[in-house]
Symmetry: C2
Subunit: 242 residues, 2 copies
C-alpha cells in the first residue's frame, strides 16, 4: 500500500458522508462516532475544502444540520449536498408533478412543488411511511401513467442506526421497479450527476477530491467511477463481508 502522503497527493477537497461516518442516527437523534467531531474540526482548520455529501432523505437540510450542530459538529447548511433539494430542482426543470412517498421530516424541501395530478412518483427514505398502503398507492400512480417516471432519492440498501441496521430506500425502489417493470432514476450517491453537483458546489475537480464514506457501493464505487479517490471507514454499516 502506498504511503498516505503519496495517496493523498494533490487532494484539495474532502467529501464526507454523514450517516455512519460522522454519526449513527437513531430515534433519540443518534450519537456521534468517536473522534468524528474532532476530525471535522481539524479538517476545517486545514487548507482543504470540505463538503458534506449525504444520501439522507428523511430530514430537511436544516434539520440535519441542526441535529449535527447540537452534537458538536462544525457544519452549516450551505456546506451540505443532499438529495431532496437536488430533486426539487430536477422536478422544476422538467415540469414534473410528483406523488411524494417521503418522510414528513423532508416534506418542507418540496414546499414549492406542484403535486396536483401527479405525472411521476418520488420516493425517499420514508421509514415507517413505507406501509403497504402507501407503497400500493405509489404503485397505482405509476401504473396509471403512460410513461411511468420513478425518482428515488438514493438507492442505499440499508444504513445503521443505534438500534441496528435499517432498510433504506433502495429496497423499496427495487420493489416498485419490479412491480411496474420500470427503472428508477436515482438522485443521490452513487449517481455521477450527484457527485458532480457536490464537486461543483465545492469548486474542486474530481481528481483533486477524496470521498470518505462507509458504503462500498454508494460512496466508494460511485466516487471512484467519477474519477475521485475514495476511502472507506470501518464505522457505520461497514461489514468485513457483505
Amino acid at each position: 500500500m502506498a504511503a498516505w502522503g503519496e495517496r493523498l497527493a494533490g487532494v484539495r477537497g474532502v467529501l464526507l458522508d454523514i450517516s455512519g461516518v460522522l454519526y449513527d442516527g437513531g430515534e433519540d437523534g443518534g450519537t456521534p462516532i468517536p473522534g468524528s467531531v474532532e476530525a471535522v474540526a481539524r479538517l476545517k482548520l486545514s487548507k482543504l475544502k470540505v463538503r458534506f455529501c449525504t444520501n439522507d432523505s428523511q430530514k430537511s437540510r436544516r434539520d440535519l444540520v441542526g441535529l449535527l450542530q447540537r452534537q458538536g459538529f462544525d457544519i452549516s447548511e450551505g456546506e451540505v449536498t443532499s438529495p431532496a433539494p437536488a430533486t426539487s430542482l430536477i422536478l422544476k426543470e422538467r415540469g414534473l408533478r410528483p406523488h411524494l412517498l417521503i418522510h414528513d421530516g423532508v416534506r418542507s424541501e418540496f414546499d414549492q412543488i406542484d403535486t396536483s395530478n401527479p405525472n411521476c412518483v418520488v420516493i425517499a427514505d420514508a421509514g415507517e411511511g413505507f406501509s403497504y398502503q402507501n407503497m400500493n398507492e405509489a404503485f397505482r400512480v405509476l401504473m396509471d401513467l403512460e410513461k411511468p417516471v420513478l425518482i428515488s432519492l438514493g438507492k442505499g440498501r440499508y444504513y445503521k442506526e443505534t438500534s441496528g441496521l435499517m432498510l433504506d430506500v433502495g429496497a423499496y425502489m427495487k420493489a416498485l421497479e419490479y412491480a411496474c417493470g420500470i427503472e428508477a432514476e436515482v438522485v443521490g450517491k452513487p449517481s455521477p450527476e450527484y457527485f458532480q453537483l457536490a464537486l461543483k458546489e465545492m469548486g474542486v475537480e474530481a481528481h483533486e477530491a477524496i470521498m470518505i464514506g462507509d458504503d462500498i457501493v454508494g460512496d466508494i464505487g460511485g466516487a471512484q467511477r467519477c474519477g475521485m479517490r475514495a476511502l472507506q471507514v470501518r464505522t457505520g454499516k461497514f461489514r468485513s463481508q457483505t
Copy 2:
C-alpha cells in the same frame, strides 16, 4: 392460428389459476368472474382432469376453498395446489425454522413448523403486514444469518382485487433480495418444481396438460417452460400492454 381442436389435441388435464381467472378477490371476499362458475362446472362434467393451481398465499387452502364454494364453484381442498402447504413440506424436509412474514389468514398452514431460533425467512403475500417494521425485522434476521435463506411464496408483481391493482409478494421479495444481496427461492408459479408438483398431484404429464391463467410470466411462461400448453385469459390483471 390453429383450430382449437388441433391446439388442444391430446390434452387430458386442465390447470386453472384462481385469482383473476375464477374470481377477483376483495375485502368483501371478492366476486366471481362472469361465466367462470359455469365453466368449472362444465369442465368437471367432461373427461378432463381439473386442478386448481394458485399462488394465493394470503389464505389457507381451507379458507380459499370455502370462499370459492360460497361463490358457487365446484371445488374441494384436495384439488388445490397452493404454495403454503408446499413450503411447509420443504421446511420440514430441510430442517428449516422460518421467521414468518405472512398474512394471518395462512398462518394455520405452518402450525406444525418450529419457528424458534429462525434459520431462514419465509415471505408470503402479507398485505398490510408488509409494514416497514415487519420488513425490517425480516431483513435483520437474514443479515444475522451466515448463509441467509429467503423463501418466497410466489414472485408475482401484482394482482387485481375489486378495488384495483395490489402489490404482490414479488415486490417485497425483490426488496429483501436487494437489501441483503441474496436471491430468494420461489415456491409457486413460475417455479418448474411447483408446476411439476401440480402435475404429479393430478396424475398427468406436462405434454398432456394446459394451464389457464391471467399472468403472462407466472402462469403462461412458467407452464410453457415446463412443456405444458398455456392459455392467457383477458380477465384479472390482464393488460394489453405491460
